[in-house]
């Protein structure tokens, strides 16, 4: 049993102490992994190996296992509630997305550091928040108004309220099964379709039920649902059809 990994001493921005302690703090979720610069840990290990002057293969192996576990944990932490989203991306896309987010988060941290420094520098600067005690009062003025607006406003108040509507009592829900059948037969003929196109002209309730049917099919893994951006057309494709490259809506 080698001791090299355990005796690795770290001196990072967010942590100072033995690698062991870092591991246990992370696992007990007492130290957010996103605060830890893992590249620094790797460098520390390489320098540590160098100081020892001999290549300890056991130590290297153990370190590789531990550091890759940490890297994976950190990667997952970048997608807290979006594991599904990440999982549905192609591996290269997922890697790219992950790198992009890491870079963005790193930039945010650097910017935060700059701001922290600024507060420190300006600690001795006081300024007034809000108006001066004896500032002149702000006058609110109103542009000239059409007198007809007054008559119109009064007429609005004289509009009889509509008789209570009973229309909602007659709301009829088409059965979900009707749409399940419709979507299945459509997908037997075509590998994909645009939801919005297919439900054009239907009532709001019908569209809602049609969408419920989609979710049901998705749950049963019969279809894939994709949308390029919020409010973009919703694209439906057979689950076995080739996967779309665009972002995939999960469970909705």
């Amino acid at each position: 049993m080698t001791v090299s990994v355990h005796e690795l001493e770290l001196d990072l921005d967010a942590f100072q102490g033995p690698f062991d302690l870092l591991l246990s703090l992370v696992l007990r979720e007492e130290l957010p992994l996103r605060e830890i610069d893992l590249a620094e840990v790797v460098i520390a290990f390489v320098e540590h190996l160098d100081r020892k002057g001999e290549l300890d293969l056991d130590a290297c192996g153990e370190f590789l296992v531990l550091i890759s576990a940490l890297l994976e944990l950190k990667a997952r932490a970048m997608f807290p509630d979006e594991d599904a989203e990440l999982a549905e991306l192609e591996p290269e896309e997922a890697a790219e997305e992950l790198a992009r987010r890491l870079a963005e988060y790193r930039r945010a941290k650097e910017a935060a550091q700059f701001l922290r420094k600024r507060i420190e520098e300006r600690r001795t600067f006081f300024f007034r928040l809000g108006p001066a005690p004896l500032a002149p009062k702000v006058e609110r003025s109103l542009a000239p108004q059409e007198p007809e607006k007054l008559a119109a406003a009064l007429r609005v108040l004289a509009i009889e309220p509509p008789a209570p509507s009973l229309a909602h009592m007659a709301l009829r829900f088409p059965p979900v099964s009707q749409f399940l059948e419709r979507w299945r037969s459509l997908l037997r003929r075509r590998s994909r379709f645009d939801f919005d196109q297919e439900v054009e002209g239907l009532s709001r309730v019908e569209i809602a039920v049609a969408f419920l049917a989609l979710l049901e099919l998705r749950k049963q893994d019969e279809i894939a649902i994709a949308q390029a951006a919020p409010f973009a057309p919703i694209r439906i494709s057979r689950a076995d059809a080739e996967r779309s490259l665009s972002w995939t809506v999960r469970s909705a």
């Binding site: 928040l129 001066a132 002149p136 009062k137 542009a143 108004q145 007054l150 004289a158 309220p161």
Partner: protein, 201 residues
């Protein structure tokens, strides 16, 4: 500096230093600062603060600076000099607002056509609490208090000359006609109240 050197009594430099601290406090304060507040902030006694204020009093007198030290009820505060009043007015002038909100428009219309009316009456017609809207219209000077329902009754509101100017009216008599709502004020009021009742039913 080509002024001859002279010995400055320590007291004066102390006062000058304290005066600077007071300047700083006064420029940051959003309320007048009392003598007690100045004392505790500077950790100085009343006399020391008094001496320093004396210096500021001269430095920030009307006519010698754009900043004027003022003694008001709550204590000491800086204000703009009277000479700068016009520039200040231009700075604080807001661009004219384009129009009133629907709630304000309905309320002012009720006051114009049916006034003087009390807040409860307006509320009955509009079917909502109107305290905020009425207060807003009073603040803008479009309506004003004008007597009471009876000696101990609710305050009644009427429109103001400013209201007439804004709406381009020579007088209330030149309000657009609303014959379609009723033959006279009494009828219109009854009709509006009847509709309001149905609305809330």
């Amino acid at each position: 500096m080509d002024r001859p050197l002279r010995l400055i009594p320590t007291e004066t430099t102390q006062s000058a230093e304290l005066a600077r601290t007071l300047e700083a406090l006064l420029v940051v304060a959003s309320q007048p600062l009392s003598l007690e507040e100045l004392q505790s902030a500077c950790e100085a006694d009343a006399e020391e603060i008094g001496d320093a204020l004396e210096l500021l009093w001269k430095r920030y007198a009307e006519g010698s600076s754009g900043i004027v030290l003022e003694h008001v009820a709550g204590g000491f505060a800086f204000r703009a000099s009277a000479d700068a009043a016009e520039a200040c007015a231009r700075l604080f002038e807001r661009p004219a607002e384009k129009g009133l909100s629907q709630a304000a428009l309905e309320t002012v219309a009720i006051v114009a056509y049916l006034g003087p009316v009390s807040r409860p009456e307006i509320a009955r017609i509009r079917g909502v609490n109107v305290d905020g809207v009425v207060a807003g219209l009073v603040e803008r000077g479009l309506i004003a208090e004008g007597g009471r329902d009876n000696e101990f009754g609710a305050i009644r509101y009427r429109t103001t000359p400013l209201f007439e100017r804004v709406f381009g009216l020579e007088s209330l008599a030149s309000l657009p006609r609303v014959d379609d709502l009723g033959a006279d004020v009494g009828e219109i009021r009854e009709r509006l109240e009847a509709v309001a009742e149905k609305r809330t039913a």
